[in-house]
Symmetry: C2
Subunit: 351 residues, 2 copies
C-alpha cells in the first residue's frame, strides 16, 4: 500500500517534554506501517533552554518553517528560570494564534480501570469533549498597565470576541455534537456578568443551532459548570466555551478523568490553512524531569488525535484501544517508567 507522506514537526521542549514525546513517537512508529501514512520528522529546538541560550521564543523564521509542515507534536515548555508569561505568550500562544488554531479540542473521558477522585462515578459517566476557542477572548493579549509600581497603578486585560471567531468555533462544536450518539451541546459562559461577550455567544449558538435541529443545546454558567463537572459530570456531552473558561474547565476535566497524566489536546486549524498542533495538557514538570517518572499517556492520546486529524482513523482507533487496554491493566501493576509505559503501548499497537 502506497503511503501518504506527512511532514511532522516535533517540539520536545523542556522538562519531561522530551521524555513523553519520545514515547509518543515510539507509538507513532509502531502504528505507522498500518496507517497508510509515513512520517518525515523535523525536530525544533524551542522552549526554555533556547530562551536561556538566545533570548528567542518563536522566531519568525521558525514559525515560517512550521507553516510548511503538515502537523506538529509538542511535549511541554517552560522551566522555573523563565519569567511567567514569556514562553506562554511568546511561544505557545503565539503558535496557536499565528497558526489559527481556533479550536482547542480536549476530550474528557474516563477510561475503564482508571481511578477518579470522584466517589461513585463509573466509566461511561464521564465522556465529553470540550471545544475551547483558541484564538481570541481573554487570551487576545490586549491590555496594559498605567503608572506601574505606584499606588495609582491600573492594569487591564481585554477579552476580545468576534462574530467571526465565535461562529467558526460554535459551528465546529455543532459538527462534533451531531456526530456523537447523545447529540448534546452545552455552551459554558458567564453571560449574566460578561454581558457583551456572553450575549454574542448566545446569539451565535441560537443562529447556528437552527442548522442542526438534531442537536439539543443548553447553557450553563461557568461557575455552575465547574460544580457539575464534580457532582454531575454525566450531564455533559460536547461543551463549547471561550478560551479562558475552556482552560479552566478542562483542568477540572483532567482531574476527574484520572489526572493530568492522561489529558490530551489538539490545537486545531480545521480549515487546513496551517498545521494543527497536538500536545498533552500537562506542563514541563521540572520537579520530576529526567527521572523516567512522567506518564507519557497524555502524549500518546495526543498522537491519537493527530492520527484522527490526518484521517488515519483506523490507526487512531488502534492506538486508542492499546492505551485503553494498558490503562485497564495498570491498577494491578507496580509503578512503571515512562519508557516502560511507551513500550507496553507500542507493543500492543504492533501486536
Amino acid at each position: 500500500m502506497a503511503s501518504r507522506s506527512i511532514h511532522l514537526a516535533v517540539i520536545p521542549g523542556d522538562g519531561i517534554g522530551p521524555e513523553v514525546v519520545a514515547e509518543g513517537l515510539k507509538v507513532l512508529d509502531a502504528v505507522a506501517p498500518a496507517s497508510g501514512l509515513s512520517f518525515e520528522r523535523t525536530s525544533y529546538d524551542l522552549g526554555a533552554a533556547r530562551w536561556h541560550r538566545t533570548g528567542e521564543t518563536l522566531p519568525d523564521s521558525v514559525l515560517e518553517e512550521l507553516r510548511g509542515q503538515d502537523a506538529i507534536l509538542l511535549g511541554a515548555v517552560g522551566d522555573p528560570g523563565v519569567p511567567s508569561g514569556v514562553l506562554e505568550r511568546g511561544l505557545l500562544l503565539r503558535a496557536r494564534f499565528e497558526l489559527d488554531h481556533y479550536v482547542n479540542l480536549r476530550p474528557v473521558k474516563l477510561f475503564p480501570g482508571v481511578s477518579t477522585p470522584l466517589a461513585g462515578v463509573d466509566t461511561g459517566d464521564i465522556d465529553m469533549v470540550v471545544v475551547r476557542e483558541g484564538t481570541e477572548g481573554p487570551y487576545a493579549g490586549v491590555g496594559g498597565v498605567l503608572r506601574k509600581g505606584t499606588p495609582h497603578e491600573v492594569a487591564t486585560q481585554e477579552s476580545v470576541n468576534t462574530a467571526y471567531g465565535v461562529e467558526r468555533v460554535v459551528r465546529y462544536a455543532f459538527e462534533q455534537a451531531a456526530a456523537r450518539p447523545r447529540r448534546k451541546l452545552t455552551l459554558v459562559h458567564k453571560d449574566n456578568v460578561l454581558t457583551f461577550a456572553g450575549d454574542l455567544y448566545q446569539r451565535v449558538l441560537k443562529r447556528v443551532g437552527e442548522e442542526y435541529p438534531q442537536v439539543t443545546t443548553d447553557y450553563c454558567h461557568v461557575d455552575a459548570a465547574t460544580m457539575f463537572f464534580v457532582n454531575q459530570p454525566g450531564r455533559f456531552d460536547v461543551v463549547v466555551t471561550d478560551n479562558l473558561f475552556g482552560d479552566i474547565i478542562t483542568d477540572i476535566g483532567a482531574a476527574i478523568a484520572g489526572g493530568i497524566g492522561l489529558a490530551a489536546s489538539g490545537n486545531i486549524n480545521p480549515d487546513g490553512t496551517a498545521p494543527s498542533m497536538f500536545e498533552p495538557v500537562h506542563g514541563s514538570a521540572p520537579d520530576i524531569a529526567g527521572q523516567g517518572k512522567a506518564d507519557p499517556t497524555a502524549t500518546i492520546l495526543s498522537v491519537v488525535m493527530l492520527l484522527d486529524h490526518l484521517g488515519a482513523t483506523d490507526a487512531a482507533r488502534r492506538v486508542e484501544r492499546a492505551v485503553s487496554d494498558d490503562l485497564a491493566e495498570r491498577a494491578g501493576q507496580g509503578a512503571r517508567t515512562t519508557a516502560q509505559i511507551g513500550d507496553a503501548i507500542a507493543k500492543r499497537v504492533s501486536g
Copy 2:
C-alpha cells in the same frame, strides 16, 4: 445586659430566597438574646418580582436607605423571565460595587458527617477560606459591542485592576491567614496569560507579604487550582483571587464541601463605610421554590458570618456549632423540609 441595636436590611428576593431567609431569621432570633445584639429589621422588596412589576432593579432611593443600615441579609434573586444580567448587574453587583464590598469572603469547609463527591476525603481535609475580590477585575462592567448582529461584530469585556483595589483585598487575606493555625496564603491567578493583571497581583502579594513574615505564600494558576480543589484540597488554607476566578473556584469549593446548599458568603466592606451583605452562594432555584425543599443551611451559615462581622463572636460560634451538630445527624435522617431544618437548628441554638 444592655444590647446593641442593629439595623438589619433583609432582601428575601425570589424563588427559594424568602423561604431560606425566613429560617435564617428564625435562627437569628433564637440566638439574639445571648448575642448582646438586638435586631431592627427592614424588609426590602427587590428582585425579579419587583422588576416585572416596575422595571426597577435597585433604585437610587433604596440604595440610599440600604447605606443607612448596619448589615444586609439577602436570600436570592432572579427568575427565568428576567433576561440574564439584568438583576445580576442591576441589583447584586450594583450593591456590591456601590457599597464597596471589596472582600467577598467564602469559607470552604467540610463539616463532619457531610458527604462530599470526592473519594477518600475526610473532615479536616477541606478547610479553607477564599478571599475573592469584589469590586473590580472582569466584573467592572467595562466593555461593549460594535456592529452588533452583523458578521463583523466585536464584543469586548475589560478586566480593570488597580493597585488600590488589589492591595486592600490582599491585605485582608494576609490578616485572615495570620489568624489561622496554618498561616498559609495562596494567590490564584493566571499570570502567564493575563500578564498585566497577574503581575500586579504578584507584586502586591510580595510587597504586602513583607509585613507578614509569619505567613507562607504561594501561587497557583487558576486552571491548576481547580484541579487541586478536586484532587488535593488539603493544599489550601487561605486563597486570595480576583473577582471572576473567585466566582469559579468557590463553586467548585461548594461542590467538594457538600454542595451549594451549604455554601455561605459575605460581601464585606471591611472599612465599615457601608453595610456588608451576607448571602448564600446559591441562586433562587425557581424549580424547587415554594415546596419547602430548599436547604436553608447556607443562609444560616451566612448568618454566622453576619454575627462574626458584627463582633458577636460567641453567638456566631453557637450557631455554627448548632449547624455542625445538625449536619452530623442528617445522614441518618429522612428528608426534612426547609422549615424543619430551620426549627431544628434554632432549637439547638436556644437549648
